[in-house]
């Protein structure tokens, strides 16, 4: 234990329970869940996550009691070999408490939301048993994320880092068998594998960074590394930070490894909200912030990080503007916003980065969950529509819903693995914005919370996104002009695609029967949305750019060192606000003044190739296939079949080694040496022996008396010899 005696450790001993509570939750659900009702499963999981939140709050109290001083709690030994010594040590400081509050807070809300969401989702997808699995994975995720943010060494961070990657894999592939269903283009299991592999590429960078770090610093423990920064050559630190950057691009979906995140939307919506928007993907930002002393000492690396972030922000924003799937828009938006954060921490504006991380967690979780509510509403509507046509009994009334669903299930279980949609005939995509429209009226609560998220994301004052984004832009304008302009343009696109989405989804007329019959979600879904909406609106108060209001900045100062608290810059704020408003206005002109009609081509299509690029994600997936995936497959098949099997196994071993051996033994030795040499001699010997035996056998006449006689003669001869010699 390395605790200084003077510090009051308060609730520090609870730190491991951040991990234990979710693990206990998942164990209970794994072992006994089959006996529980859905409500019970959800309650256990939510309580586990809620308990982690309570612990986070208590730890926050403890840390603020110690003025943000870092505290460590050693749980157990881990790896001690040679000079390597690593322990399971939890680190509680202002940065990690901030993260754990966000993770467990937002996480718990999403758990609660998921009780309602998954209740319906498993029924639409016709596999009620999978409800439990979802919550097991979700708890596992919380546990892994807690390891990530409370780890006291880079390697413990890495445990969480890959652990959340695993959860991402499991949850993206949650509906692993549905690649023909609902969303024709999404092969869920491929998306899951893609997520894991892309992350692994990043993890490769992370690993290399830890190797360099260990042999340069002699430790992987944060404090020990940071203390020695001045004594280590900058070149080494640049290498470390850039390899970490590779890890960041994987986990936080930055160029060039971002490609997995859009596909990851194959997971159920609460997953997209929790993992692929609010928490896991921000791990990269956390990593850079955590490594602040390293990054701050090498400006060259910082510039690269900032540019990677800024380029990602703009690049992804353009793609988001060209998407039709409600979740894909949000996915690219997430990539773009992560770009903002990475750019911020890259420029050394760690507080701004973390601030944006927090507000983004609020409003992006809100947006995703609302989108999930929209999708559920659409599915309900679709369901009613199908049954209205089918049974001819008019509107699906609320009271009859359960019964109908029951029918539907029975019906579906008759149809085979092709899945639920056969019952409904055509392939219907409840996430396609072209099918929506006018949902403002049918789903009012969802509409209002969505609006809250939209204004926060677009950066309209005084909502939370404005303050955090503005802080990033302000820092960029001072440190890195290129990044500043990239980010400003990205902010413009952000407002545009959010405007586009709002107009397409909630305004105008319903473009599909399902949208017309859509239905508001139950309370278990809407209440968490309302809480998140409040946070999204007010979250900016954490760190207002006015004297005395830099709360988050001061809070993080204890961990990140001196933080510059900038006042509001009217020029930067003005430009970004004006651009956002302008973008929303443009989107209104394009999508709302003349409402988007059914089967209409997108007004953006007039941009020609540019829109095609945005719509097709700039063909990045195809490019990666061409450059990496196909060559990899080809090469490995070539090595496996041609080199390893046909050449090495079949040709070399069978033909050359065994063939040579066979030739020597059959032809060389058997035929020539053996048959014509040794055999001839041996046969000759044999023949001779045989003829000799033929002669001698006559002695053996079989009469005992003749044998006795020969014995007698022998005895007489021997005796005679002995006597007369």
């Amino acid at each position: 234990m390395h605790l200084s005696e003077s510090v009051n450790t308060g609730f520090l001993f609870l730190a491991p329970w951040l991990v234990f509570f979710p693990v206990i939750g998942l164990l209970i659900n794994t072992l006994f869940g089959h006996k529980f009702s859905e409500r019970m499963i959800g309650a256990v999981a939510s309580l586990a996550s809620g308990a982690a939140f309570v612990v986070s709050v208590l730890l926050y109290v403890t840390v603020s009691g110690a003025h943000g001083e870092a505290m460590r709690w050693q749980l157990a030994e881990w790896m001690h070999i040679g000079t390597l010594s690593l322990d399971w040590t939890f680190r509680v400081d202002s940065l990690s408490t901030t993260m754990m509050l966000v993770v467990s807070g937002v996480g718990t809300l999403i758990h609660i939301y998921a009780i309602g969401y998954m209740h319906e989702d498993v029924r639409f997808k016709n596999d009620v048993g999978r409800f439990r699995r979802f919550f097991v994975f979700l708890n596992l995720f919380i546990a892994a994320m807690m390891v990530l943010i409370t780890g006291d060494s880079y390697l413990m961070l890495f445990v969480g880092w890959e652990g959340v990657g695993l959860c991402s894999f499991l949850l993206v592939g949650f509906w692993y068998e549905l690649d023909l269903l609902a969303r024709p283009s999404w092969s869920n299991s491929f998306a899951a594998v893609k997520a894991f592999v892309a992350n692994r590429v990043g993890d490769f960078g992370f690993l290399i960074a830890t190797f360099i770090m260990f042999w340069a610093f002699g430790s992987l423990q944060f404090d020990k590394v940071f203390q020695q920064v001045p004594t280590v050559a900058p070149g080494v630190i640049i290498a470390i930070t850039l390899f970490f950057l590779l890890g960041v691009t994987g986990k936080s979906a930055q160029v060039p490894l971002y490609v997995w995140l859009p596909d990851a939307m194959a997971g159920p919506t609460p997953v997209s909200a929790l993992i692929h928007a609010a928490t896991m993907v921000t791990a990269g930002v956390y990593l850079v912030a955590r490594s602040a002393p390293l990054y701050s000492s090498v400006p060259e690396a910082q510039n690269i990080v900032a540019l990677v972030g800024a380029v990602t922000a703009l690049f992804a924003a353009t793609i988001a503007a060209g998407q039709f799937d409600i979740k894909k828009v949000l996915a690219y938006s997430t990539i773009s916003q992560l770009g903002f954060m990475v750019a911020a921490v890259g420029m050394g504006a760690y507080v701004a980065g973390i601030f944006h991380l927090v507000t983004h967690a609020f409003f992006k979780a809100l947006l995703f969950l609302s989108a999930g509510s929209v999708i559920l509403g659409m599915e309900r509507g679709h369901h009613h529509a199908a049954h209205a046509n089918h049974d001819n009994h008019g509107k699906g009334k609320k009271g009859k819903r359960k019964e109908e669903r029951h029918d539907a299930r029975a019906e579906r279980s008759h149809s085979d693995s092709e899945g639920a949609d056969e019952a409904h005939g055509e392939v219907f995509d409840p996430g396609d914005m072209r099918n929506m429209g006018g949902l403002r009226k049918t789903m009012p609560v969802t509409f209002w919370v969505y609006m809250a998220g939209m204004v926060a994301l677009s950066g309209i004052p005084p909502f939370s996104g404005f303050w955090s984004k503005d802080e990033i832009l302000l820092d960029a304008s001072m440190h890195n002009q290129a990044a500043y302009w990239l980010l400003t343009i990205a902010a413009f696109f952000t407002a545009f695609y959010m405007g586009r989405q709002i107009w397409m989804v909630f305004f105008g007329e319903a473009r599909h029967e399902a949208a017309a019959r859509a239905e508001e979600s139950p309370k278990v879904i809407t209440v968490p949305l309302i809480i998140l909406a409040a946070l999204a609106v007010l979250g900016g108060a954490l760190n207002l750019p006015f004297e005395g209001f830099h709360n988050l900045g001061h809070w993080l100062e204890a961990t990140l060192g001196e933080v510059e608290s900038l006042p509001l810059n009217l020029q930067v704020a003005g430009i970004s606000t004006l651009l956002a408003l302008l973008a929303i206005l443009i989107s209104w002109l394009m999508y709302a003044r003349k409402p988007f009609a059914k089967d209409q081509t997108d007004p953006l299509a007039s941009l020609g190739l540019f829109f095609k690029g945005m719509n097709n994600k700039w063909w990045m997936d195809e490019l990666y296939h061409l450059l990496f995936i196909n060559p990899y497959i080809k090469i490995s098949y070539f090595i496996a079949e041609v080199i390893d099997w046909r050449f090495w196994h079949d040709w070399f071993h069978e033909k050359v080694i065994m063939g040579t051996y066979n030739w020597i033994s059959f032809t060389g030795l058997n035929e020539y040496a053996d048959q014509k040499g040794i055999d001839a001699f041996a046969n000759g010997l044999g023949t001779w022996t045989q003829s000799l035996a033929g002669t001698l056998r006559k002695v053996q006449n079989g009469f005992v008396r003749s044998y006795a006689l020969s014995i007698l003669l022998g005895v007489v001869l021997i005796l005679g010899y002995l006597i007369f010699k």
Binding site: I81, E177, V197, L207, I208, T210, Y632
Partner: protein, 508 residues
């Protein structure tokens, strides 16, 4: 009695009790044979735990030594010499653990010639434990060759369609390498007037050029067994044809005989040659990692995939051993155990599903998770352990190996190779994710595969695991988590011996 009650002698020869008992069981009574074999192998495991209890990790000398003169003719001094230290104890435990598990795994899979089958397994256990515990080179060679015989029959009698070919190839291939080793052993014994390993190490003084030849002769035997690229060609054949339990033992323990040989004989006996050879072995290890991972991905057969993944994993072990620092060697030894556990478990699981579906082609699988949720979860955990997910056992080994290799590269152990070996090997971590996840995806995710219908046609429905099968894998699962989360007890067993070993090397 004193001779028999030596703990190490007991560990090695206790299975003989089972062999004798099995001889007297009438051949109709298959269950009695299974229970006898299981009971004896479990008892052996308990004995090995007793050895563990008596083992003092902080002592770097050989412990529980049993040493008797055996053949002392014409100035030759061959001894019955057993001893255990930190390098071998975990491997012995792995052997005694995997044997009952593999016996349990064939409860229903083997119905013919059960008696012979069980006898061969117990004999195999004797051979393997002998290799790990013997400290006399001559006796070592005997045990080394002895392991071939039962395995030859296990593959050749209970194997797949091309079993004779595979068994023969396995036998000849390994035999070919051992002959060179035998020559080297004879040279050492005659030159050093003793076959005792500790004495030979203490004597030292083998001229550098001869060391190199002896090193190569030993390495030939071990490298084939490991198998190191490019001598791996027998492995896929042997694995594909071997019955499930055969594959488990083959991957789990027999391959470790090779890596163990390197760390037990090559490194301490020929330190100068080891230093010279380090970059070359590391190069072969690195190639093996990448090559094995790439080839795994392209396999249509599950068992073949796992077989090639062994080439990749053991490349890691070799890389770690020849990093020649405590991190690398300890990591490599732990990785031997990890590989035994994870790959052993993978083969077990493949066997369980094969027993139901009678096919190992990916092509026909798919969506199994839905039908076999428990199996899917266990398979996932084992796969993840195999690809080195942090928190599971594979990671601890791989990380320490790569860390050690990187350090070795920086400190000039690898000469021209530098940190490239570790850097390129780390790509193997990505490639492992690719082939493992590909396998998992093809088997368990996606729409339901043809295999379900095919199996139904034969009047069987695919079922989830039964209790016996779960009991078979649970010990391995526990170890997967234990080593991953709390490897301290394991490292504590290995570390003093490894530090001692590294201390004896003339490192630059």
């Amino acid at each position: 009695m004193e001779f028999i009650l030596q703990p190490l002698t007991l560990v090695i020869f206790f299975p003989l009790v089972g062999v004798l008992a099995l001889l007297f069981i009438p051949s109709e009574n298959k269950n009695a044979m299974r229970w006898t074999a299981l009971a004896v192998s479990v008892a052996t495991f308990v004995i090995s735990l007793w050895v563990l209890g008596r083992f003092d990790a902080s002592n770097t000398d050989l412990q529980m030594v049993a040493r008797y003169n055996w053949i002392t003719v014409a100035g030759w001094n061959i001894q019955y010499f057993l001893g255990i230290d930190g390098l071998s104890i975990l491997l012995v435990l792995l052997t005694t653990l995997l044997t009952p598990i593999s016996i349990l795994s064939t409860w229903t899979a083997v119905e013919e010639r059960v008696k012979e089958y069980m006898i061969f397994f117990l004999l195999l256990e004797i051979g393997m434990n002998g290799v790990f515990l013997v400290q006399d080179l001559f006796l070592f060679y005997i045990f080394w060759e002895f392991t071939l015989v039962p395995m030859y029959f296990i593959i050749g009698i209970w194997g797949g369609p091309r079993r004779i070919y595979a068994a023969l190839k396995f036998f000849l291939y390994t035999m070919a390498g051992s002959i060179l080793m035998l020559l080297a052993i004879l040279w050492l014994g005659i030159h050093g007037k003793t076959f005792s390993l500790p004495d030979l190490i203490a004597q030292g003084g083998i001229p550098a050029n001869i060391q190199m030849w002896l090193f190569i002769a030993f390495a030939a035997a071990f490298a084939i067994k490991v198998p190191m690229w490019p001598l791996h060609s027998w492995l896929p054949d042997a694995h594909v044809e071997a019955p499930t339990a055969g594959s488990v033992i083959l991957a789990g323990v027999l391959l470790k005989l090779g890596t163990y040989g390197f760390v037990r004989f090559n490194i301490p006996l020929f330190p100068e040659a080891t230093l010279q050879a380090a970059p070359w072995i590391a190069l072969l290890g690195t190639i093996g990692i990448i090559y094995g991972a790439a080839v795994s991905y392209a396999q249509p057969d599950i068992k073949k995939l796992v077989a090639y993944s062994s080439v990749s994993h053991l490349g890691f072990v070799m890389l770690g051993l020849f990093a020649l620092n405590p991190e690398g060697i300890a990591g490599a030894i732990l990785q031997m155990i990890n590989h035994g556990i994870s790959t052993g478990a993978l083969f077990l699981l493949v066997g369980m599903v094969y027993e139901q579906t009678h096919t190992r082609e990916f092509r026909v699988y798919g969506g199994l998770w839905k039908i076999m949720p428990v199996f899917g979860a266990i398979y996932l955990i084992v796969s993840l352990s195999s690809m080195g997910l942090p928190g599971l056992n594979g990671f601890v080994g791989e990380f320490t190996i790569l860390l050690g290799a990187w350090g070795a590269g920086q400190n000039g152990i690898f000469y021209w190779g530098g940190v490239w070996f570790a850097g390129i090997s780390a790509i193997g971590v990505i490639m492992a994710a690719i082939y493992i996840l590909y396998m998992f995806q093809k088997m368990f995710m996606g729409p339901q595969g043809e295999v379900v219908e095919e199996t139904k046609k034969h009047g069987r429905a695919i079922r989830d695991l039964n209790w016996r099968e779960i009991v078979t894998v649970v010990p391995l699962l526990i170890l997967i988590f234990w080593i991953g989360l709390y490897p301290a007890p394991f490292f504590n067993l290995i570390a003093p011996a490894v530090n001692h070993l590294v201390g004896t090397l003339p490192l630059p």
